[in-house]
Amino acid sequence: MGFALQATAVDPQGLSAALSDVRAGGLVTFEGRVRDHSGKRAVTALEYEAFSPLAQKEGDRILAEALEKFGILAASCTHRTGRLAPGDIAVWVGVAAEHRGDAFTACRYVIDEIKARLPIWKKEHFAQGEAEWVNCAAPPIK
């Protein structure tokens, strides 16, 4: 339950189990995995760097917002840090609710806000050997 940053593999089964509640009719989960490509380039690894104390606060706030905005019973989110390979789970979100509509809406809200607000960065390592921080390229000179 709650938000967690962790340097070890994500366990979706354990996280789902922690959200089970006999009042809940629906559990919606989102698993974000490392893709084997970015644009047309083959990706060999992703490296996540977090500003931990602020990421933890912001993650906690996002879950609190979801619980306040939507009719849900429980929500949790876990985000990886460190070096990941294609296929690894980078982020997991789960929302339990009495009614499925609320669970879908809240789960979507949490992952959208996590992606937009959490102070976490990722560096893509490509098959050709180069590496780039996502979203951090300097703008072209105007």
Binding site: E49, K115, R117, P119, W121, W133, V134, P139
Partner: protein, 80 residues
């Protein structure tokens, strides 16, 4: 003049070459501090693509710096 701790992340950390440093600055607010560091170290990201956090909390660029503040510069995030 105040002494602050500065933290850099991701692309900014690599451009600066260190994850953090202590420094004395005459900058009055967080925005002026970033401008000072940007020109001194040739950081490529303009201020409008960076966010600042002071003492582990998001803060506006106009925040006045106080002695001992920890000022973190955050490039555009990419979680998930």
């Amino acid at each position: 003049m105040s002494t602050v701790r500065v933290r850099y992340f991701a692309a900014l950390r690599e451009e600066r070459g260190v994850p953090e440093e202590s420094m004395a600055t005459v900058a009055a607010d967080a925005g002026a501090l970033y401008d000072e560091l940007r020109s001194r170290h040739g950081l490529t990201l303009p201020r409008d693509r960076v966010r600042v956090a002071i003492n582990d909390e998001f803060a506006p660029w106009t925040s006045l710096l106080r002695e001992g503040d920890c000022v973190a510069f955050l490039p555009p995030v990419a979680g998930g």
